[in-house]
Every structure is written in structure tokens, then in C-alpha cells.
Subunit: 587 residues, 2 copies
């Protein structure tokens, strides 16, 4: 048969069986996602009648598109502003959960005598809860707007970010084959740098572009533009050897800041549904029920580990972040399952060929069981809380109460709170600027061959070429370096004002303050330059040329100082404008 | 590189360049479709920088999905009711246009010394105008609701149906390699049969199924169901060796009768836009600008032929159907271009490997030029009409006026009009019933091996198996045969009443009437049975068994007559209910 016919046959089989099974699942109020997976198992090669899929390769490609659209949608729902609001609780609980679950998963893997890499991937798979299943369960229970639900959504956002980082990290570990702490720091550092730069540059460019295209009032053009940006960035991310999942999520997060967000969500919905259906069916295709019989013990152990590990870690995390009463139990119960990220990580392990075949069906089985349990666990949370309160002795519950008041007392009050807010804001701005500068030099180093080859037509000497590239990067960085310097100056003036009190420094007060406010920025800039020298070692020109370049930059700085300051402030204003924009109503 | 990465790279390149080019085209008010094609030319292998597409096969598969979704959308906009309203004008004009254009295209091909098959395909490509381009042009000129626009849309609907038939026919001709008139009749007959049966059975089942699924209020489930039905039917159509384009269009036409039509249109919109963009880009990929230079003469000739041929045929057709004044010129100018169907037919020729390589770029070039001309032609229609009226001598315009009044006089009036309406209605019902009966026996013949193999476990003798299958088909057909008989009876009573006037038949009137009303239905049923015997020759049991089967059927008929009548009328009511349903508002 013709290739196209084979493929249409596959699509027909997938969609027909998925349609029937999901209708049945929905009829009995079970998650649609489970329906897709069951449909995949039915279609798949491990169950009768036989393997109904002919063109494995194309189905696999389409299921990858499913991952891209799933994570793009998650990114669209993600919001820097929302994250800032949920704040500490979500971070504390999510970090507690992920660290505990990775450790538990790893230990379980080792206990059953699996390969180290299997154990590592198992840990990662157990770390992240399933947004899809939680949203569905809370919707059906009518609890979506309660306080604990808001905390759960906050935790899910932080989990998404950490999971994206974990996927990038796992790819690195899987390729290098070992967990080298230096390398981990290096990988995580580069990843964070890439994410910050992508978000800043993306938020500066993409929403403006989308606003321009949206003016044409054509859904089709907006769709093509969105898909162009999405796949274009995914391509860039792939070339940098990060996962496309990361790219899709970042593009989504950037577009979430656009005024067109509601229109984008609406036009992308069907495409995501179509490809994510194929993705979940493809998971079912890989599921071998025989593994279920063979690995019933690990599946049972892991299911218990997921439920109790997540209940414990999320509950404790929520409590430590200052929430009492029934909230910790409810949050813990709500998050006690694994889902789509586990499948993505499992798929990653398979495609990198570092995990064993049995891991996939185990994770699918655990996900199915925990997904089915979720609504019942949430419903059981309140009675269990009440019982727990009865059982815990008065003294211990007194200690809990003291912890809450102690936590309250830690919060800075009045003027202090204002100052610490300003300091945090300045530090964030400085960090973003440094990230941009570092990114410019890393790009220079990354593209040195390309640019150098192009320059060689004009400049013969390799060292001079290096000097030109390095100098170019320096010139591009100048606005950000100046901004860093000015922000650090402001910060150190503030610190000097607050830190050096006339009561102690007496007559020296203003002198000490001036020294501090002058020394800190200069020292910091020198530190930053040192960092740049190290990072750009491969394109650093020899000393004499370097001196020449630095001299030139100093001259430029002197000539254009005020222009560069203006340029940076315009960029900054543009960024904050976009972040403060309200989305348009869907129309 | 990994297969998935290659593919994402392709998608990124397609969407990025398509995005940029379409924004530019929209800026200068040119059709988006042309933008896609130009993007494809830029990406393609025939233009610098180089071939940017790595995974030809997957892009080709996705562009086939584009054809499916394009025709599915066309089907959704198609409506049996609308077609009935536009009536004669559209049919006359569309048939005139298609026949003339096929002939012109064929002659041009022969004139330039091309292969017969190239000439045939060229004719087919020139026959159908472009809905996309017309809708866009009329929208921009603000003429969408004028009378001539309604006629144009009617003609487009009829063209779509004829084009679908043409595609099926061309596939047959291309495979058999010759144009055998007997075979054409056979092919067209089977095609019509297939279309009627699909529509009737589809309208009975599909809207009910969609209503059931829509109750779950989940766009995702509705989407999966729609895609399942769409691809499932496309698969069936492919197995019957018709084109998937036909299948997609029929599914769309069936779903157009559903109450969920607006929701379906909305959830399918983005998916269609995505894949149709890929389809049009894929057309551009095949476009070789060198052909343009080499074949400038045919391109010019064909462009003129399209504009003047369509203007002439559609104008004359519209006039012959009774529209005077400026309408014929406007209709002709509006339809003077070729578009998406031409590409689909061109793609068919390429995939069947019967057309030459140069045909594709020629058609793309002609489509581009005529698309660009369309808005100007529509604007030029009124001045040209006025000038034509001036130029035509009074005598001839008098003849035109006489034609119009003569046409009016042909319309049946009063009681006669009522009767001819009833007769037409009964004949349509009889034809549908006969089509269903014929389809049941053809299905029996088609699946005889499968059913026979399955039956062989119980029944040893091959002849007995045949008798069982043939008898089964007869039993299934009984409700439709009875209905046909009853409808024919009613028809012949009516005819006897109208045709046999007491003035002529005198005392014999009632006798003659009774003979007519008894004889016609019996003779007709005997004729139908003969047709069935011929069509089901391959599964016809030997005479003795046949007699046995017929006797059994007669017994069944006697026993269950009233039940079978009831069953059929319930089916008929269900069908008309669905056709009369109003679509729900999109929500």
C-alpha cells in the first residue's frame, strides 16, 4: 500500500478506537487521558487482535508533536505574575516534593536491583504530579476555587519549571553517562542562563510581533505565526541540545505575556487535543500487559511510594510554608499521582536508549492507578485531617501553633519590609543584566567559527578576528554593563544608608558611606569582567589587542554614556510594559 | 540527525517562512494562499539558497492531510438544503462551465503536443474555480450578499460535487489508461450509488452519534469523534479505491446536517489552517521557476483560456438559466480563476505518475495570475456590461428579452406545478430506495469471500453459502423494496388520475386507471429484481436454491408486511428529522 494510505489507516485506527474508548471512559467519569492510553494498549502489538499500526515512524513523529503542543499549552497557562503571587509556599512544597520523590524513586530502583540510569529516571518520573488529572478531579469535585486548590496550582507551576530543568539535566546525564557534580552545576547554570535570556528577549520581541499580526484579524495568519515561532524556537533549542519540551514551554511562557493570549489559547486548543491524543495513544502502544504480571511487586511498591511520599512531602512543605488546619492534608492528597511529565521523561529515556523496556509499562500502570485514586484521596482528606487532629497529643499540636507564630515573626515589617523589597528588585534586575551580558559573550564564543569564517574575507590575522568578535560582544554588552553598574551603585548607596548608622560611625558616617557606595559597584563590575574573561576564554584576544579593545570600549563609554543609559531604560520600559499588559478578551 | 529533529526542522522552516511571506502578502492585500505557495517556492529545491526540506515523505503525508481537511471543510459548508434552493441556475452554469473548460483544456494540451493524459488532466484542472479566492475577493469588495454572489456560491457547490466525481473518474482513467465510455458509465454509476448510500446512511447515523458525544460538553471528545469518523470513512473510501478527497467531502456534507455543525467548524478550523498551509507550501515546493521561462507560451494561452472560457461559459449558463441584466457578466468574472481543486487534481496526476512534471508549475502559475486578476475582473464587470448593452443591436437584445419570457412560460403553473413537485419527490424517494437495495447486494458481492469464509465453519456447500448470503441481502432489502413498491403504486395512481381523462377514456376510465396503477409498480419491481440479479451475478445461487430463497422471502413478506412498512417509515422519518434540524448556536 501507498505510504499515505498506510498513514491514514493508522490515524483512522487511532482516532476511531480512541473515540470509542474515551466516550466509554467519560461515561464512567474516568479521565480521558486514561482512555487514550487504554486505546493505545488495544491497538498495540502486545494485545490481541494484532498490531494495527503500520507506520510506526510517522506516528512517533506526531506523538512528539503532541509533547510540543502539551508543553506549549502548559507554558501558555504559566505566568510570571501568578508565580510571583503564589510565592514561597509553592516553592517550598515543590522542592520538598521533588527532592524526596527523586530520592525515593532512586532508592526503589536500586532496591529492585535495576540499572543506575533506570533508578535515576524512575526518581524523576515520580517527582512531578499531573496537572491534567488534578484539574479534572478538582473540576468534578467543584473545589477549583478553594484556597488549597490555589496552592496546588502554584506547586504545579513550580514543578513544571523544575521538571523542565530535570529533563534538560537528564538528557545531559544520559549522554555523559555519569552524574558529575561540577557538570551538573555547569549544566544547570547554562540552562538557567538560557531560560532567563530566552524569556527576556522573547518577552521583548514576541508579544509585539503577535500584536502586529493580530491586527490583520485573521486566525489563520495568527496561527501560522504562532506555529512559526514555536517550531522555530524548538529548532534553536534542539540545535543547543536541550529538549524540545523546554523550548515549547518557554515559547508558551513568553506568549502568556501577550495581549493575544486568549485568542492563541483558543486557536491552539484543537491542534493540541489532536496531537496529545496521539501522544497518549502512543504511550499505550508501548505498554505490554505481560510486564504487569511480571512486575506486580515494583508497581505496588511504587504506587504506595507515590501516594505516601507525595502526601508527606507536599503536606509537610505546605505546613512549613505556614499553612495550618486541613490545608496540608488536602494539598498532599491532591498531588498524590503521576502523569504526563512522567510519560515525557519515560519517552526521553527510551529515545536516548538509556532505560530498560520494563520501565515504561510500570510507570503507565502506576499513573493509571494513582490517577484513578486521586478523586477519592481528595475526598478522604478532610476526615483524615480531623482524625489526625484527634490522634495528635495536645503538646505536639501546641508546637505546631508556635511554629506558625514564629514564622509570622520572621516576616520583615514596616520600613524594613519596604527596603528588603527594593533590594530584592534591584538584585533581580542586576542578575538579569548580568545574564544578558554573559549570554552575549557565550553566543560570541559559540558562533566564533561562523563569524570568523565570514570575517576572514576582510581580516587575515586570526588574533585580530578574535579581537573584533570579542570587542563586538563587549560593545553589545555596554548598555547592560552600564545598567548593572548604576543599579549596583544605587544598591550600595541604599545599603550604606541602612547599614552605617551615625550611632556607631559617628563623624566618619558620610565618609564610610561614600566609600562603600563607590567601592561595591566598581568591585562588582571588575568581578563581572573577570567572569566574562573566563567564560569567553576561547575568543579572548592576546593581551596587547585586548588592551586596545578595552581602550576603545572605554572611549565609547565616555562618548555614549547617556545614549547607552537611555537605550537600556527604553528596553527596560518595553519589558515592563509587556509584563503589565492585560490580555484582550477572546473574540 | 534524529528523524524527529529533521521533521521539526522542516515544520519550523515551513511555518517561519510561510508566516513571514503571508504577513507580507496580507499587507499588500494579496491572497494568503499565494503567500503559502511563494513560501514553498522559496523553501523548495529549485530556488536559492537550497532545498531546506529534509523529510520529504512526512511533509508529503501532512500535505495529504491538508487535502483531507480542506475538503472536509468544504463539505461542512455544503448543504443539501442550500443546493435545493439554488436549484437550476447553478447546475446549468456549472455543467456548461465544466464541460467547456475540460474541452478547452484538452484541446490546448493536444495543440501543444502533450501526452493525452496531460491534456485530460489539464482540462480537469481548468474546470473548477477557487472557492477560497472568490470568497476572499467578494469579502473585500463588500459584495458577499448580492444576488450574483449567491449564484456564484451555488455554482461553486455544484462544481465541488462535479469535481469530486471528476477526481474519482480521473483516478479510474489513470489506472486503466484509457477512456472507455462503458467504463465511464459504470464508474460514474457506482460513484453516484456510493455517494447516495453514504449520504443516506451517514445522515441517519452520524448526527445522532455527534449529538450523543456533544452531551459531554468536551471539545476534546467531540474532536476525537469527528476525526475518528473522518479518517475512518476516508479509510473505507480508500479501500474501495476512491479518492480520500471524496471521502472527506462526503463526511463533511453528512456532518453539515448535524446540530453541532457550528461547534465542529470551530474546533476543526485551526487544524485545517495548519495542514492546508502545509499543503499549499508543498505545492510551492514542487514549483520550478525555470519551467516558467520555458513554458511562457502555454501559460499565457491557458490564462487567457481560463478567463475568457469561464467568463463565456458561466455567463451564458447564468443567462440560459434565466438571469438577465448585469448578473451573467458578474458571475462569469467572479468565477474566472482556478485554485485549490486544480492543485488537488495536479497532485493526483503526480501521485498516480501519469502526468508530466511541467504541468504542475504551469497550473500554479496560471492560478497565481488568475487569482491576482479576480478582484479587478469583478470590478470591471459592470462597466463592461454597460458597454456590451450599448454595442449589441436592439434586435438581438429583443431576442434576449423573448428568451426570458419564453423561459418563464415553461414553468408549470398552479395545479400542474403541485403535481410535478409531488412526482419529483416520489421519484427521488424511489431512487434512494433502489440505490440502498443495490448497495446491499453489491456489499454482499463485495464481502462474499469474507462472509463465505466465516460461514464455511457451519455450512459446507458453497452453493448453499451463496444462497444464504443472497437471501440475507434480500431480507435486508425487503423494507426498501416494499417502500419502493408502495411509492410506485402511489405514483402510478397519480399518473393514472392525471393522464387518463374521462373525456377520452369514457366508460373505461376507472378500469384503465386501475390497470395502470397495478401494472406499473409490479413491472417496476420486476425490473428492479432483474437489475439485482445482474448486479449480484457473482453470488447468485443456482435456480433450485434461488426459488427456495425467493419463496422464503415471499413468506416473510406476507408475515411481516406491516412491520416492514413501519420500520421503513421510521427510518424515513429519522432521515427527514435530521435534515430539518436547525444547527445549535456556537457556544
Amino acid at each position: 500500500m501507498h505510504a499515505v494510505e498506510l498513514f491514514i489507516q493508522d490515524l483512522a485506527v487511532i482516532m476511531l478506537i480512541a473515540g470509542v474508548v474515551t466516550v466509554v471512559f467519560n461515561r464512567f467519569k474516568q479521565p480521558v487521558v486514561l482512555g487514550y492510553i487504554v486505546a493505545g494498549v488495544i491497538i498495540g502489538p502486545h494485545t490481541p487482535p494484532f498490531n494495527l499500526i503500520q507506520d510506526d515512524k510517522t506516528v512517533h513523529i506526531l506523538s512528539e508533536l503532541g509533547v510540543i503542543f502539551l508543553l506549549f499549552s502548559l507554558g501558555l497557562e504559566f505566568s510570571l505574575k501568578k508565580l510571583a503571587k503564589v510565592g514561597a509556599t509553592a516553592v517550598v512544597a515543590a522542592v520538598a516534593e521533588i527532592m524526596l520523590m527523586i530520592w525515593i524513586g532512586y532508592e526503589i530502583g536500586i532496591y529492585f536491583g535495576w540499572k543506575t540510569m533506570d533508578a535515576v529516571f524512575l526518581g524523576a518520573m515520580l517527582a512531578v504530579s499531573s496537572t491534567t488529572i488534578i484539574v479534572k478531579a478538582l473540576n468534578e469535585l467543584g473545589m477549583k476555587n478553594e484556597k488549597f486548590a490555589q496552592i496546588i496550582f502554584g506547586i504545579l507551576i513550580v514543578e513544571d519549571i523544575l521538571a523542565i530543568g530535570m529533563i534538560a539535566l537528564l538528557s545531559g546525564i544520559a549522554t555523559s553517562g555519569s552524574v558529575d557534580s561540577g557538570e551538573v552545576v555547569n549544566t544547570v547554570g547554562k540552562l538557567l542562563l538560557f531560560m532567563v535570556v530566552s524569556l527576556v528577549v522573547g518577552i521583548l520581541i514576541v508579544p509585539r510581533l503577535l500584536n502586529y499580526v493580530a491586527r490583520f484579524k485573521s486566525n489563520e495568519m495568527l496561527l501560522v505565526t504562532v506555529l512559526g515561532i514555536l517550531f522555530g524556537f524548538c529548532l534553536l533549542v534542539m540545535k543547543l541540545e536541550y529538549s524540545v519540551a523546554l523550548g515549547a514551554f518557554l515559547v508558551g511562557a513568553v506568549m502568556a505575556e501577550s495581549r493575544q493570549i486568549h485568542r492563541i489559547e483558543r486557536i491552539i486548543e484543537s491542534i493540541r487535543d489532536m496531537f496529545s491524543a496521539i501522544f497518549f495513544v502512543a504511550i499505550g502502544l508501548l505498554f505490554d500487559p505481560n510486564v504487569l504480571a511480571k512486575y506486580w511487586l515494583p508497581i505496588t511498591v511504587i504506587t504506595f511510594a507515590v501516594v505516601f511520599g507525595k502526601l508527606f512531602s507536599c503536606g509537610i512543605g505546605t505546613f512549613l510554608a505556614g499553612h495550618g488546619g486541613r490545608t496540608p492534608m488536602r494539598v498532599g492528597m491532591g498531588l498524590a499521582q503521576i502523569g504526563e511529565f512522567s510519560f515525557i521523561i519515560a519517552a526521553l529515556g527510551v529515545s536516548l536508549k538509556v532505560t530498560s523496556d520494563f520501565l515504561y509499562p510500570i510507570v503507565v500502570a502506576v499513573s493509571a492507578v494513582t490517577a484513578l485514586l486521586t478523586p477519592y484521596l481528595i475526598k478522604a482528606a478532610d476526615p483524615l485531617s480531623a482524625k489526625a487532629v484527634e490522634l495528635v497529643p495536645k503538646k505536639i499540636s501546641g508546637i505546631f501553633g508556635m511554629y506558625a507564630s514564629w514564622l509570622e515573626s520572621l516576616q520583615p515589617q514596616g520600613e524594613k519590609a519596604e527596603i528588603s523589597k527594593i533590594i530584592r528588585r534591584i538584585l533581580l534586575q542586576v542578575l538579569v543584566n548580568i545574564a544578558l551580558v554573559v549570554a552575549i559573550f557565550l553566543c560570541g564564543a559559540f558562533f566564533v567559527d561562523g563569524i570568523g569564517g565570514w570575517l576572514s574575507a576582510w581580516i587575515g590575522d586570526e588574533q585580530v578576528r578574535k579581537a573584533v568578535i570579542w570587542g563586538g560582544a563587549l560593545v553589545l554588552s555596554l548598555p547592560f554593563l552600564i545598567a548593572t553598574y548604576r543599579k549596583l551603585q544605587a544598591l550600595s548607596m541604599l545599603l550604606a544608608e541602612v547599614g552605617v548608622k551615625p550611632e556607631f560611625a559617628g563623624a566618619y558616617t558620610s565618609g564610610v558611606r561614600r566609600v562603600i557606595s563607590e567601592v561595591i559597584p566598581v568591585m562588582s563590575i571588575l568581578g563581572i569582567m573577570l567572569l566574562i574573561f573566563v567564560l569567553s576564554a576561547s575568543i579572548l584576544p592576546p593581551l596587547n589587542l585586548l588592551a586596545f579593545v578595552l581602550l576603545g570600549a572605554a572611549g565609547l563609554l565616555w562618548l555614549l554614556w547617556s545614549k547607552l543609559v537611555k537605550l537600556h531604560s527604553r528596553l527596560q520600559i518595553a519589558l515592563f510594559e509587556t509584563l503589565d499588559e492585560k490580555p484582550e478578551d477572546s473574540h
